[in-house]
């Protein structure tokens, strides 16, 4: 084809001679006995089979193993991954970030968040009960998105198997440990839409350009 077909050419789905669509690598099937014979001889003496043998042997010698032995080593996951929730504390003071506004409970589309609040003696709102039923949670991320205080976020813990359903609601598992919060070891949640680190280096030119 002399020039690359334009988008308009591709929109014409009437496949005829000279249109943008054409059959890729479609060879004539041999019809006569002699042609069939020639094809067999050709294929046999080009030693096509040995090319395949060489390819797999080369890979074996190179020994470039791509296996991730999973329980022992794990692939890193992106910061936008939505796994089991984490309840954040404030740095240094260690106070729970949750202000008990109840937005997450309201927005949860699978109805798996329950919270109970009261007004404490300083007339501040205090969260007394907070449970997420992870057995029901569909990990949509609405709760983390709606949270005004970045108190509930999604962590990277994706191995959530348990022998008991009760374990799926344990608030203390999700809450940042106090010592980590005080020593400032908790990474600040980058928020929704955060890009993976080093993402710029991994961006490649689209194949269409070359």
């Amino acid at each position: 084809m002399s020039k690359l077909p334009s988008l308009e050419d591709f929109k014409d789905r009437n496949v005829v001679e000279g249109s943008a669509y054409y059959d890729v690598d479609q060879r004539e099937a041999p019809t006569t006995g002699m042609e069939k014979f020639k094809q067999v001889v050709n294929r046999t003496f080009r030693f096509e089979l040995f090319i395949g043998l060489w390819v797999v042997l080369r890979e074996m010698i190179k020994f470039d193993i791509h296996t991730v032995s999973y329980p022992a080593e794990k692939l890193p996951i992106g910061p936008r991954y939505r796994a089991v929730h984490e309840m954040q504390r404030l740095w240094e003071s260690g106070t729970e970030r949750c202000i008990g506004c109840g937005l997450c409970e309201k927005i949860c589309i699978s109805d798996c968040i329950r919270m109970d609040t009261r007004i404490d003696e300083n007339s501040r709102k205090e969260v007394t009960e907070y449970t997420i039923n992870l057995g029901r949670c569909i990990f949509c991320g609405y709760c983390a998105e709606v949270c005004p205080e970045l108190a509930i976020v999604h962590g990277g813990r994706y191995e959530n198997v348990s022998e008991q359903r009760a374990h799926y609601t344990d608030f203390n598992d999700m809450l940042t440990p106090m010592d980590m919060a005080i020593s400032g070891k908790v990474a600040e949640y980058p928020g929704f839409g955060a890009v993976t680190p080093h993402e710029d280096e991994r961006i490649k030119t689209t194949p269409l350009a070359y």
Binding site: G52, L53, V55, E59, T67
Partner: protein, 327 residues
């Protein structure tokens, strides 16, 4: 018959049985490792160092699994079929010299159970009988996939018996003996048989893939079409016997090719013995290698290859050999 001879023979039989049953297990380990490396995987890694004890784990699993005989099967035939496969594979080994003869404390040991004068004929005949395993097992299983596999097996094995026989005829004409020891000794003075008979070697190798049911011709138990073929209804050690039979056959076929076409154990020195083991290892590796590289062919293509390509080639090879020997 002397007692010493009897004891020696029994010891040989038991040794072959034990060694090749164990080798069948280790063969599965190597198959998984080789296939994994060729596909850039690691293969079994967790049981023992580098997964070497995976064989033991598989063995324990096979031995302790529940033995299921399904409701509608033809009981006695269903039960005897795996035994036929395994037994004939080991019976075929009786005429194969596994190593050159050696001396232990002044007592000469020939590592062949019986050097009968129709050696190679006996080996091929008994290996051919082994095909009753898949056939009877498939037909007795009351399962349509097993039945399909039995039908395919019948077609493939009978067709490729022809190729095995015809391809071997030309080398046998040159040697003038059926004994595998004579065939081995023929290659001591001259070159290896593959130099005289390259076409016969290629045909015999191709037929070997069909006879052992290895990958390019793996139609008898083609997982993606007919589940496990004749093995579909089998479980536990009955299936294990099919498995041992298949792998033992692979080893024996590797021995046959090495002895017939690639010089065997040569003049019988220690070096020759190790050379034989090296050749056998290579051909066993070749069975695994092709499995990683080549796709399966269709049953009709297999028949086409047998009757329209390989058989004429084998016959032409015999005719040319005959003419060359005559003049």
């Amino acid at each position: 018959m002397e007692t010493a001879y009897l004891i020696e023979t029994v010891i040989k039989i038991v040794t072959i049985l034990l060694v090749f049953s164990a080798l069948a297990g280790i063969g599965t380990y190597f198959e998984r490792k080789v296939l994994a490396f060729m596909q850039r995987r690691l293969g079994p890694m967790n049981v023992g160092p580098y997964g070497i004890a995976q064989v033991a784990a598989d063995g324990i699993k096979l031995f302790t699994k529940e033995d299921i005989v399904p409701t509608n099967v033809v009981g006695p035939i269903f039960k005897i079929a795996p035994v036929i496969t395994a037994a004939t594979a080991f019976m075929a080994a009786a005429a194969i010299p596994f190593l050159p003869s050696f001396e232990i404390g002044g007592y000469v040991v020939n590592p062949i159970v019986s050097d009968i004068n129709v050696g190679i004929l006996y080996v091929l005949a008994v290996m051919a009988v082994g095909f009753y395993g898949p056939l009877l097992g498939g037909m007795a299983s009351a399962n349509k996939y097993a039945l399909l596999s039995a039908a395919r097996g019948a077609a493939v094995f009978i067709s490729y018996e022809v190729i095995t026989g015809l391809s071997l005829l030309a080398p046998l004409m040159m040697v003038g003996s059926f004994s595998l020891i004579d065939l081995n000794n023929f290659q001591i003075e001259g070159y290896w048989m593959v130099v005289y008979q390259p076409v016969a070697m290629v045909l015999f190798l191709i037929a070997g893939f069909a006879e052992t049911g290895r990958t390019p011709f793996h139609l008898v138990a083609n997982d993606h079409e007919i589940i496990d073929g004749f093995g579909t209804e089998y479980s536990g050690m009955r299936w294990g016997l099919f498995f041992i039979g298949e792998y033992a056959n692979m080893f024996f076929y590797a021995f046959l090719i090495s002895i017939l076409f690639f010089g065997g154990f040569g003049d019988g020195s220690v070096l020759g013995a190790f050379a034989l083991l090296g050749k056998v290892s290579f051909f066993f590796f070749f069975f695994l290698w092709t499995r990683a590289a080549w796709p399966d062919v269709r049953p009709d293509q297999l028949m086409w290859l047998c009757w329209k390509v390989l058989m004429p080639l084998a016959v032409i090879n015999i005719v040319i050999t005959g003419f060359v020997m005559m003049f």
